[in-house]
């Protein structure tokens, strides 16, 4: 059949408005799903609160935190670990959304996303942003509870200045989750992610203890912590809460976001990615 592409064929493309509609639709669906899984929201909130109310209270007297930037006075241990717990919410949220991507893939929902005529990088980036938006709601809900526990930034502006840090670190951890979702073949393998990603990332970071303390105990572990992008997400949030910018952390988080997202997009690309190499969507 002679149907080679000729000049008479017109490519229609999409307008900016159509891109925005697609983006809004993806965010809207993610929000609806979040709304339908309220128990997920509660558990996402309970987890850091247990750390805050029990773990931190217990460790308060054991672990004194000296004056290190951005703090200009001695701070309570609860105050120290709050940024780490906010980052933990985002870490879990990022992994959860990757879990839901694996689930979607197994259930076929992923296919309805991927047959959309919009470019795949756009669809995946939109999904990532939607997931991050959901994690922001959780993070602020946690900060609201912490406020009543008298953990607050030096000025109310801190709640605003922390926002960009939360968005950026949320994107980084969501992109990491997306990358993992492309590598995990089946849902059952996800328990491994818990053991090999969430726990090491969380514990080998500055979330629970300042790095100088770690260095006293084990210099190589401190070095590992410094390499851990999660440490930088925590520090970015910690400084932003105090209306300051930690430029090193900003650079690391930004760089890691780009690398994770780009790799995830390549992994989901039909011609290059892993999807082609194995059977099943």
């Amino acid at each position: 059949m002679g149907s080679a592409v000729t000049a008479r064929q017109r490519r229609e493309g999409f307008s900016l408005v159509q891109y925005l509609r697609c983006f809004a639709g993806i965010v809207w669906r993610e929000t609806l799903r979040f709304w339908h899984q309220r128990e997920r929201f509660v558990s996402a909130l309970v987890r850091p609160l247990v750390w805050l109310f029990i773990f931190a209270a217990g460790f308060r007297s054991v672990l004194g935190v000296s004056i290190i930037p951005p703090y200009d006075t001695y701070v309570l241990y609860e105050v120290y670990i709050t940024p780490g717990l906010v980052a933990m919410i985002e870490l879990f949220s990022g992994m959860q959304s990757s879990l839901s991507m694996v689930y979607d893939r197994e259930m076929g929902n992923m296919r309805s996303l991927l047959v959309s005529p919009f470019p795949r990088w756009f669809l995946l980036t939109s999904k990532l942003m939607a997931g991050t938006a959901v994690s922001l709601v959780q993070a602020y809900a946690f900060l609201a509870v912490a406020y009543f526990w008298e953990i607050e930034p030096p000025s109310p502006w801190g709640y605003l200045t922390v926002l960009p840090a939360l968005i950026l670190s949320g994107l980084m951890l969501g992109a990491l989750g997306m990358l993992l979702s492309s590598l995990i073949k089946q849902l059952e393998n996800f328990a491994g992610v818990m053991n090999f990603v969430i726990f090491p990332m969380f514990f080998a970071s500055s979330a629970l203890y300042p790095l100088w303390r770690v260095r006293e105990g084990s210099p190589w572990l401190a070095f590992l912590c410094e390499l851990n992008p999660f440490t930088h997400a925590v520090e970015l949030i910690r400084f932003a809460f105090y209306e300051q910018v930690n430029f090193l952390s900003l650079a690391v988080v930004l760089g890691a976001t780009i690398v994770f997202l780009a790799t995830a997009i390549i992994a989901y690309d039909p011609s290059r990615g892993i999807l082609t190499r194995r059977e099943g969507p």
Partner: protein
């Protein structure tokens, strides 16, 4: 299920006489295992084409290639002249798909599912709800628009999936084993509806199945077996060529395997 669907948008600029779907010399391997070898066939606009093959014949792989889930490794797939590999966006926007697996979001309502799909095609909310009402009416599901998908029966979900696949007014509709797991009446309803669409709207349909009784004698049939097209043409022609009384017997003769479906059991 008989009222008129809104006419497909006139897609200007498409080459006149272009095939709805053109598969040319397509081969695909998963590592060393070859799933498709040198598959070629086409689907005309306003025609109902059955892709007949047993489970594992390569139908799902072929669908994954047409929907650009995997890149085409060898050969070409064109939808109304647009190469799926080179211009996926133009190809996909002319394509509606009903996958074998259920792909509706169970926790969302029927309307929310359609609305999400519309957004994925850049359709505005207002236009989407207008179109959703029309396509749901068409499959007699208008009364369930506000219900959660979880509460629907298997047949109703399939009808919603067909409605959803038509929401962006595609010109080619792919269905992958759409009647699997449905009762006799639901199967007949869906088949009848899709055949009706072909006549009414001029959409091209590729219907993949392993159920021989879904083939009508006037249909175009592509027989896929172990990743190869073993015969194709009008069902009656294929049967005549093989010297078999009907397409079921022809398929059995060509493949040496008995499949499923009513007529299989009759010698």
């Amino acid at each position: 299920m008989s009222r008129r669907l809104p006419e497909p948008v006139a897609v200007s600029g498409e080459q006149l006489g272009a095939n709805a779907l053109e598969v040319e010399g397509v081969s695909h391997s998963y590592g060393k295992r070859k799933a498709l070898s040198d598959v070629s066939f086409h689907v005309r606009p306003a025609s109902f084409c059955v892709l007949l093959g047993l489970n594992g014949a390569g139908k799902s792989t072929l669908y994954s290639l047409i929907t650009h889930l995997y890149a085409v490794q060898k050969g070409t797939i064109r939808i109304f002249g647009f190469d799926v590999n080179r211009t996926p966006s133009e190809a996909l926007r002319r394509l509606g798909v009903v996958f074998q697996a259920r792909t509706l979001d169970l926790d969302l309502t029927v309307e929310q599912n359609l609305s999400y799909h519309a957004a994925l095609h850049g359709i505005s909310k207002r236009e989407a709800s207008f179109r959703a009402a029309a396509v749901l009416d068409e499959v007699a599901m208008a009364g369930r628009a506000g219900d959660k998908v979880r509460t629907l029966s298997g047949g109703q979900m399939r009808r919603v999936e067909i409605a959803r696949a038509l929401l962006h007014r595609p010109r080619l509709l792919l269905l992958d084993e759409p009647t699997v797991g449905l009762d006799v009446k639901a199967r007949a309803d869906i088949l009848k509806h899709v055949r009706h669409l072909v006549g009414e709207t001029g959409i091209g349909v590729l219907w993949a199945t392993h159920l021989i009784d879904e083939v009508a004698s006037g249909d175009n049939v592509v027989l896929l077996h172990e990743g190869r097209v073993i015969d194709q043409g009008h069902a009656a022609e294929v049967a005549a060529r093989t010297g078999a009384p009907d397409i079921g017997a022809a398929f059995k003769k060509l493949t040496g395997v008995a499949g499923e479906g009513d007529r299989w059991d009759q010698p």
